[in-house]
Amino acid sequence: MIPFEYIRPSGQKAALDAIAKDASAQFIAGGTNLVDLMKKGVVSPQKLIDIGKLPLKEIKEANTGLHIGALALNSDVAENEIVKTKYSLLSQALYAGASAQLRNMATVGGNIMQRTRCTYFYDTTMPCNKRKPGSGCGALKGYNRMHAIFGASENCIAVHPSDMCVALTALNATILVSNNKGERKIPFGEFHRLPGDHPETDNTLQKGELITAIIIPENNLQHSCYLKIRDRASYAFALVSVAAALEIADGKTKDVRLAMGGVAHKPWRLTDAEKFLKGKPATENNFQQAAQIAIKGAKGYGNNNFKIKLASAAITEALNKAAGKA
C-alpha cells in the first residue's frame, strides 16, 4: 500500500470541507472495500478522510418513511426490528451479503459505493476500462461467468456486487447526499449508472459529496423474498439475485417490486415485469410470464450465458417464495 495521509474530522462539516479541498482524497468508513482495493493497488488515494465516527448511524422512522444513517452498519440495519418487520426485503438482502464479520464493519453508505468485483478490475496487470480508461475490457472476451447480462457496453460488462442495493432499488429508496454547500436527494434507481462510454464512473455522486442517509418510503409489501443464487451456499457474490416484494389483495397483486442483482452495472429494476404483474392474480403461471418478460433483451457474453435462464428461474422462484407458493 502506498503511504497516505489520514485525517479524522470531528464533524460532518469538517469532513465536507476536507474533501472539497482535496480532489485526491477519499472518505473511508468501514473500509471493507476501500482497504481491499488499496491493498491490490486498484485505487491509491493520497488522503483518507475517516468519517467512521460521524454521528450518521441512526435508524429511525419519520413521516417520510424509514431514515437510515449512512454510517449505520449493515448488521445493525439487518437486525433492526423495524427493518425486520416493515422492510423485511432489506433485512433479507443484507443477511445474504458477505459475512457476519464484514456486515459488522460495512456501512450503508459504503455498501452503496462499493466497486465491482470484476477480476479484471482487481488485477492491475489486466486491461480494464473502469480502472484505466482506454485499456480495454478484459472480461468482454475473457472469463465472464460473473458478468452482466443487462445494460452492458462494449467498454464494460462488470456488475455491481451489492445485495442491499437491489433491495433498496425495489423499495424505491432515496439517497440523501451533502456537500459543503448543501444537500440533495437522488432516487435510488438514478444513483448507479450504466457503463456506456464511461465505465470509470460508477454513479452520479459528485466530487465533494457525501452520502448521509437513505430514506425508504412506507409500503404495504407484506410479502417479500430476497433470493440469492451463488456458487456456494454462503459468503459468495451473486450469480443472480432477485428482490421480490408483493402487496396482495384478494389474490391479486396490488403492488409489486422486482429488482435483480449480479446482472448489470447497477441494481436492475424489472419495470416491465412489474407492470405485467400489477393487478393480475398472484399465480405461478403469471410469475413465469413475468420472468420471461424480465429477461427480454438479456445478452450473454459466453461464460455467463447461463445467467439468462437462471435469471428467469430465479425470478419465478423468488415471486413464488414471496407469495408463499414455494
Binding site: 477480476t119 496487470t125 472469463y143 456458487d231 451456499a233 454462503s234 447461463f306 437462471l310 430465479a314
Partner: protein
C-alpha cells in the same frame, strides 16, 4: 506381528488432541510467528508475463524507498551452489540436478507469477510498498497454458508412463454391455488456510535456521543442504505447527530459497509470507486431467474389460506425474485391463500432489463410469461393485493384507438408507426439490516407510517421545501419544510427543497417508524396547519384588512393571530408575518396513454415500447428508480419525461442487486467485457427515494394525456427488466442478 493391542478395553475412546489447548488459545506457533530479533520482511515481485525474458529490471525507486535494505533479483542474487552442481569426481556418477524452478537464476520467465525479485525492508508495509516500485520490462514469447488447445502435444512422461495391459487391451469393446465416457478434473488448488511462510536466519556464513511451513522437516533440510552445499548439522528446520497443506508443503519451493538468499544478502533474518494469490502459482496444484474410461460387462454385471487413459499436464521445466489410472488396475476383479498416462507441458508452475492425489482424479472417473454402467445394466451400483469384488489383488496376484471393503459398503448403505431409495433417476422429490442418492468407492495404498523415534523416560515419571516430523492437522502428536501410552503402559497426560524440528531423530515426511503407520511403528517399537529394559532393570533391582521371575512373566501397566501371575506385585518405573540411580532411560531406534509389503497388497478403502437436493429450475445443489465408511485398519485415535474423514469429505465437496482454478489463456494468468472467487466450501455447504470405521486391524502392515486415512477420506468422494446428481436429475455431469449452470444448461 499381530499384536493388536488396541483390542484391549483400554482403547482411548475420544481422546482430545494433545495440542488442542495451544490451538484454541492462539499460542500454537506457525512458521511466520516465531519471534526472531532484528527481523526484516521480504516481499516477492512476480512476473506479469507468462513466457519470455526479463529485458530490464528497474529497482532504483524501490531501493531508495524508506526502510528498504535490498532488492534481490537474478541481477544481484548470491549464487546457489545447488543450482549448478559440480561434476562428480567419478565420471559414471551423475551430478545431482536441482529439481524445480531455480529462483533468481536467470532472466527467463517460465510462468505468470514467477518470482523475479524480492524486496527486503525493515517493516512489512515498507517492503510491500517498495515491491510495487520495482518495474520490469520483458521480451514476451508466445505461451501455452490452454490444456485443450495443446492436447496434441500429449506424450508419455520421460520418467516412464503408466502403460499397462492385463489380458487383452480394449477388451471392453467386445462386451455385451459397454460404456465409454470422458471425465475432466480441472486445476484445483490446495489453499491451506495458513499462507506458506518462512523465516530464514543465517546463524553464520555457512549455518542456517529456517522456521518454515513444511510437511517434512528432514526433506526441507536436505533441500537446503543441497541448495547451499551445507552439512546436515549446519541446517536446522523448525516447523512446530503447520496450518494445513494437503500436499502443498511436500517440497521446497522457490519462495523458500528466495527468503534464504535475501537473508544472506541483508545479513539479517528475513520473513517471507506468500500472498493468497501466490498460493495459486508458487506452491503447486492438482493438475488438469482428462480421462477416458471404457467399461465392458456381461449382462449380469461381470466386468470383462476396463480401459482407463489419462492426459494430464506438467510445467515446461519439470516433469510431474501421479497415479491417476492406477486404481483401474486392481479395484475390481476384471480379466482385461489396460491403461495409459500422458502429459502436456504447459507454461504454468509445476503441479504437485494434492490430497488423494492421482487416485482422487482416477476414482472420480472410474467410480462415475461404474455408476453409469450400473444404470445400463439395471443393477444397483452397490450390487455391481459387489459382483466385481476383487478377493485378491488382480494386478499383483497377491493376497490383500486386509480388505474390509464389503463391510464398508454394508455399513454405509444401511446408515444412509440406500436400499430404501427409488433407484430410478429423477424419481424422488422432497420439499419441492429433486432428491438424489449416490455412492462411490475410494482406495489408496497403505504404506510404511522407515522412521526413527527416540523415547526418554524421565525420573519424574514422564515419557518424552521424539521424531522429526511435522503435523499439518491430522493429529500426529495425539496418535503418537496414544500409541506410546498403549505400548509403554503410561497414561496420556504423562507423555509428551516432540516434533517439528529437523534436529530430532529422522521421521517421515507427512504425506501419502503413511505417517501413523510409519512413525507409529517406530514409536511402538521404541516404547516396547523401553518396557523391556525396565523389566530387566526391575528384575535386577536391589529391592526387586519379582523374585525368580523372568521377563516374560512381567507386564506393564499404568507406570508399573507387574507380575502377570499376581498383578498386585509391582514396581513403579520411577522406583526402578531410582533403585538403579538412573536419571533417565533413553532408547532410539530406526524402524523399518518389513518384508510383508512384498507378500501382500496393502490398501485402505472408503465408501462414500451422499444424499443431496437439486432445485428443479435453478439447479442449486444442496448436500443433505453424507455417510463415509472407512477401512483404515485399526483406529489409533478415534476423535482425530473421525475428524480426518469429515475433513476429507469436505474437501471432496469442494472438488465436486465448487473448486476450479481458472486461467485466462490470453494472459496465462489466473483470474480467480483468491478465496472469494476460488470457492472452497464454507460451513453452510457442509451437512452432517457420519464417519464410520470397520476398525479391524491389518495383520501385516505394522504393529498397530493401522492403515492410512488422509487420502481415502477424499478419494472417490466427488463421484458420489456426481452419481447423486444423476440420480436426482437424470443428468450426467462428467466435468468437475458440478456448478449449477451445468445442471440447467
Amino acid at each position: 506381528m499381530g499384536n493388536h493391542f488396541f483390542d484391549k478395553a483400554t482403547m482411548p475412546a475420544g481422546q482430545d488432541r494433545v495440542d488442542g489447548r495451544a490451538k484454541v488459545t492462539g499460542t500454537a506457533r506457525f512458521a511466520a510467528e516465531h519471534p526472531v530479533p532484528e527481523l526484516t520482511y521480504g516481499v516477492l515481485v512476480c512476473s506479469t508475463i507468462t513466457k519470455g525474458h526479463i529485458k530490464s529490471l528497474d529497482t532504483k525507486a524501490a531501493e531508495k524507498a524508506a526502510g528498504v535494505l535490498a532488492v534481490l533479483s537474478h541481477l544481484n542474487s548470491p549464487k546457489v551452489p545447488g543450482f549448478d552442481p559440480p561434476k562428480p569426481a567419478n565420471k559414471d556418477e551423475k551430478p545431482r540436478a536441482w529439481d524445480g524452478l531455480k529462483v533468481f537464476y536467470s532472466d527467463k520467465i517460465y510462468f505468470n507469477g514467477q518470482p523475479i525479485a524480492v524486496v527486503v525492508a525493515d517493516t512489512y508495509e515498507r517492503a510491500l510498498y517498495a515491491a510495487t516500485l520495482v518495474k520490469a520490462e520483458y521480451i514476451k514469447e508466445p505461451h501455452q497454458t490452454d490444456f485443450n488447445a495443446n492436447i496434441k502435444q500429449a506424450a508419455s512422461p520421460k520418467g516412464g508412463g503408466d502403460d499397462y495391459t492385463r489380458g487383452e487391451a480394449n477388451a471392453w469393446k467386445k462386451a455385451p454391455v459397454t460404456l465409454e465416457a470422458e471425465y475432466i478434473v480441472p486445476f484445483e488448488v490446495h489453499n491451506p488456510m495458513e499462507l506458506h511462510a518462512i523465516i530464514a536466519v543465517w546463524e553464520a556464513e555457512d549455518k542456517i535456521t529456517v522456521y518454515d511451513k513444511t510437511q517434512g522437516p528432514k526433506d526441507t533440510q536436505q533441500s537446503i543442504m543441497q541448495a547451499f552445499n551445507l552439512p546436515e548439522k549446519n541446517v536446522q528446520v523448525v516447523t512446530e505447527y503447520v496450518g494445513g497443506a494437503f500436499g502443498s508443503a511436500l517440497r521446497t519451493w522457490p519462495h523458500e530459497i528466495a527468503a534464504m538468499l535475501a537473508a544472506k544478502k541483508v545479513n539479517k533474518p528475513v520473513k517471507l509470507v506468500l500472498g493468497r494469490d501466490n498460493m495459486f502459482t508458487l506452491v503447486g496444484y492438482r493438475p488438469y486431467t482428462i480421462q477416458k474410461i471404457g467399461l465392458g460387462a456381461t449382462e449380469d454385471g461381470k466386468l470383462t474389460g476396463i480401459t482407463h487413459t489419462a492426459i494430464s499436464q506438467t510445467s515446461s521445466y519439470e516433469e510431474f506425474t501421479e497415479g491417476a489410472v492406477g486404481v483401474s488396475k486392481f479395484l475390481y476383479a476384471c480379466p482385461n485391463v489396460n491403461t495409459s498416462y500422458k502429459l502436456i507441458p504447459l507454461d504454468i508452475g509445476t503441479p504437485t500432489w494434492m490430497r488423494g492425489p492421482g487416485e482422487a482424479t482416477g476414482c472420480f472417473a472410474l467410480e462415475s463410469a461404474l455408476d453409469e454402467l450400473s444404470y445400463k445394466l439395471n443393477i444397483d451400483p452397490v450390487e455391481l461393485r459387489l459382483r466385481n469384488y476383487a478377493e485378491t489383488d488382480p494386478q499383483r496376484n497377491l493376497p490383500w493384507s486386509s480388505k474390509y471393503l464389503k463391510e464398508c459398503y454394508q455399513m454405509g448403505a444401511e446408515k444412509i438408507g440406500w436400499f430404501q431409495r427409488n433407484r430410478n433417476p429423477r424419481s424422488m422429490q422432497e420439499d419441492g426439490m429433486l432428491v438424489g442418492y449416490g455412492m462411490s468407492t475410494g482406495v489408496f495404498g497403505a504404506f510404511r516407510w522407515n522412521a526413527t523415534a527416540k523415547g526418554i523416560f524421565h525420573a519424574d515419571g514422564t515419557l518424552t517421545v521424539q521424531s522429526a516430523v511435522s503435523d499439518m492437522g491430522p493429529g500426529t502428536s495425539t496418535s503418537m501419544v496414544n500409541i506410546a501410552s498403549e505400548a509403554f503402559g503410561l497414561p496420556h497426560d504423562k507423555i509428551k510427543f516432540e516434533l517439528g524440528s529437523s534436529s530430532l531423530p529422522p521421521g517421515p515426511t507427512q504425506g501419502g497417508s503413511g505417517t501413523t503407520s510409519t512413525l507409529g511403528s517406530a514409536v511402538h517399537e521404541v516404547c516396547v524396547e523401553l518396557t523391556n529394559q525396565l523389566k530387566q532393570l526391575a528384575l535386577s533391582a536391589g529391592n526387586s519384588p519379582f523374585k525368580n521371575a523372568k521377563p516374560e512373566g512381567l507386564a506393564v501397566e499404568n507406570g508399573n512393571v507387574l507380575l502377570v501371575a499376581d498383578r498386585n506385585i509391582k514396581m513403579s518405573y520411577v522406583d526402578i530408575l531410582k533403585q538403579h540411580n538412573k536419571p533417565e532411560l533413553e532408547f532410539m531406534k530406526e524402524s523399518n518396513a518389513g518384508e510383508e509389503q512384498k507378500k501382500y497388497s496393502m490398501y485402505s478403502y472408503s465408501v462414500h454415500f451422499t444424499k443431496l437436493h437439486v432445485h428443479p429450475s435453478t439447479g442449486v445443489i444442496t448436500i443433505k447428508k453424507v455417510v463415509t465408511a472407512g477401512d483404515a485398519g485399526k483406529i489409533v485415535s478415534e476423535k482425530t480419525a473421525r475428524s480426518q474423514m469429515i475433513g476429507g469429505v469436505t474437501g471432496g465437496i469442494g472438488m465436486a461442487l465448487t473448486e476450479e482454478g481458472i486461467i485466462d489463456h490470453r494472459y496465462g494468468r489466473y483470474v480467480n486467485n483468491n478465496l472469494a472467487d476460488y470457492h472452497v466450501p464454507v460451513n453452510a455447504d457442509v451437512p452432517e457427515i457420519e464417519a464410520l470405521f470397520v476398525n479391524r486391524p491389518d495383520p501385516y502392515l505394522n504393529p498397530m494394525g493401522a492403515k492410512g486415512m488422509g487420502e481415502i477420506a477424499l478419494i472417490g468422494y466427488a463421484a458420489s456427488v456426481a452419481n447423486a446428481v444423476y440420480h436426482a436429475t437424470g443428468k450426467r455431469i462428467r466435468d468437475l466442478p458440478i456448478t449449477l449452470d451445468k445442471i440447467i444448461s
